[in-house]
């Protein structure tokens, strides 16, 4: 299993969610973060204090998937998040050793399969 972490623009979050939804990836966790990459830094002013803002708001997706779904997931993330302008973000993939579903204690593959909803 893989843990796919994607950093995307906050204004694309709902698009990414839809793309994942379409690809039937239903488990996902997101975090509001800030990031710095190749984006142009902007200047802000607060009374007499001028600052260079080196961080931009971003959103971090975390999706654990079984190996077979890795490509689909990455594709979905890219489709939903891409605008083509600097700052679109990155995807990081790491190996997952174990997954546990807290509710039932099932691990790995068992934890991979969500129950059907009616």
């Amino acid at each position: 299993m893989k843990l796919v972490t994607a950093i995307v623009r906050p204004e694309r979050v709902n698009d990414v969610l839809e793309a994942l939804y379409r690809a039937e990836i239903s488990g996902v966790s997101i975090t509001r973060i800030q990031g710095h990459g190749g984006e142009l830094e902007r200047v802000e002013n607060y009374r007499g204090t001028s600052v260079q803002m080196v961080l931009a708001d971003k959103t971090r997706f975390e999706v654990a998937v079984s190996d077979g779904f890795l490509e689909t997931t990455i594709e979905a993330l890219c489709t939903g998040a891409r605008t083509g302008e600097v700052g679109d973000g990155k995807i990081f993939v790491t190996e997952l050793e174990r997954v546990v579903r807290i509710r039932t204690g099932e691990t790995d593959d068992a934890a991979v399969t969500p129950e059907r909803r009616v």
């Binding site: 906050p10 709902n14 039937e24 239903s26 999706v63 997931t73």
Partner: protein
């Protein structure tokens, strides 16, 4: 308009606006004291007071409180605003209509206050029912006793701006409500702390501002009692702040901000009944004195099993009670033109005050207890534990206080689902 003084009326117009503001200010204050997931529900309990008590007051509440001088409750001659127009009531110099509105804002605020006891768990619809009934069966009765010529007023009990109906009325009703509705799921097991101390502070600031109309307007015009009450309402909370700072500091070498906000409320409550009756010097003293029982009640209550969540009893019931008794001790004819207290040689007043302090809590507690028990027969007062865990805002209002918009989809058509799900 004959019999109307423009200056008196100008001030009571303004005072009415100030008291009206107190209800949203209370919403802000209360919302800061609850967890984020219950923010809107808490504020909505205050707005609900406008809906139910605003209308019930016009329909019948005002009449029950202020029509005729029956001993226990008023008549129905002013129901549905009958006979309430521009001509002033006997002995007043402001339009009757304005008097009606001014008093109405008191009833609305008091209803909102009671909600503080049951936030974070009580269902919204039963609360609406309770608020409506309470605004008819409890507030007007207590108001009649002291303001409308009822039996306490007749005996000589002094209550300038609502120690009986507003402060003790809400405080002891809150206790009953907390007992009937029961404690929150994790009460006593987890720390359940408010989510925004700035709301609490700003709310307290706005409440104090409004209270100047609440107390200062209760003279119903520009007169000695009103002026005295106004100035005392500036001074008394200052003294409460001093003592509260001290108590906090002695206790933990730290002066808490939520404590300071609470001190403002306590000071303003304590002076509510006493405002027009005691000298400014005594008002300062009262501010300091009232801090003590309220401070300790607020420290002690969360260690009990009574989840009277926002400490309406301590901050309003007990502070109001202290103010009521204090009148009996330090009232002076030279300031109020009405009656002296104990230290000026008149013990009777203290007895009359003590009587009110016994009877009003009993009525408020008992009536609220029965009311809620009654409603519970019809519909459950609270939801499931899961609902409580999710929070009242999502369950009862279908909203979040601070929506991020993330994950909020305007789906038109549900995407169909394939057989084999992919994600973990």
């Amino acid at each position: 308009m004959t019999g109307i003084d423009t200056g008196d009326t100008a001030w009571i117009l303004m005072a009415t606006a100030l008291v009206l503001l107190m209800t949203p200010a209370l919403g802000l204050f209360y919302a800061g004291l609850v967890r984020e997931k219950n923010t809107l529900n808490t504020f909505m309990m205050c707005l609900a007071a406008f809906a139910v008590a605003g209308v019930s007051w016009a329909a019948i509440g005002y009449s029950l409180a202020f029509d005729g001088d029956g001993a226990l409750v008023g008549g129905l001659d002013h129901a549905f605003l009958a006979g309430v127009d521009f001509a002033p009531r006997e002995g007043q110099t402001i339009p009757h209509l304005l008097f009606f509105a001014f008093q109405g804002t008191f009833c609305i605020l008091t209803v909102a206050l009671v909600g503080g006891a049951v936030v974070e768990r009580m269902r919204f619809v039963p609360f609406l029912a309770f608020a409506a009934l309470w605004s008819i069966l409890v507030y007007p009765v207590l108001a009649h006793w002291v303001f409308g010529g009822g039996w306490l007023a007749a005996r000589g009990t002094l209550d300038f701006a609502g120690g009986v109906p507003v402060e003790m009325g809400s405080g002891f009703s809150a206790l009953a409500a907390a007992l009937v509705v029961g404690a929150r799921k994790d009460y006593g097991r987890q720390a359940l702390i408010g989510h925004n101390a700035m709301f609490v502070l700003v709310g307290a600031g706005l409440l104090w501002f409004g209270w100047l109309g609440f107390n200062g307007g209760s003279g119903l015009g520009i007169n000695q009692a009103g002026i005295l009450a106004f100035v005392n309402t500036v001074l008394c909370p200052c003294a409460t702040l001093v003592v509260w700072f001290l108590l906090d500091y002695l206790r933990g070498r730290q002066v808490t901000a939520v404590g300071a906000a609470t001190a403002i409320i306590v000071g303003a409550v304590a002076i509510t009944p006493a405002g027009g009756f005691i000298s400014p010097g005594w008002a300062l003293a009262l501010g300091g004195v009232a801090a003590l029982p309220c401070y300790f009640a607020i420290q002690w209550r969360p260690r009990t099993r009574v989840d009277e969540t926002l400490d309406v009893l301590a901050a309003h019931g007990i502070a109001g009670l202290t103010g009521m008794l204090f009148i009996g001790v330090v009232a002076s004819v030279s300031w109020n033109g009405v009656a002296d207290g104990l230290i000026y040689g008149n013990a009777d007043l203290l007895l009359d005050q003590a009587l009110a302090v016994l009877v009003a809590p009993l009525y408020a507690f008992g009536a609220t207890f029965l009311l809620l028990r009654g409603i519970a027969l019809v519909t459950p007062l609270r939801g499931s534990e899961t609902e409580e865990a999710q929070g009242m805002d999502i369950i009862h209002h279908g909203e979040e206080a601070y929506p991020t918009g993330e994950g909020a989809l305007l789906f038109r058509t549900e995407p169909t689902r394939r057989e084999e799900p992919a994600s973990v």
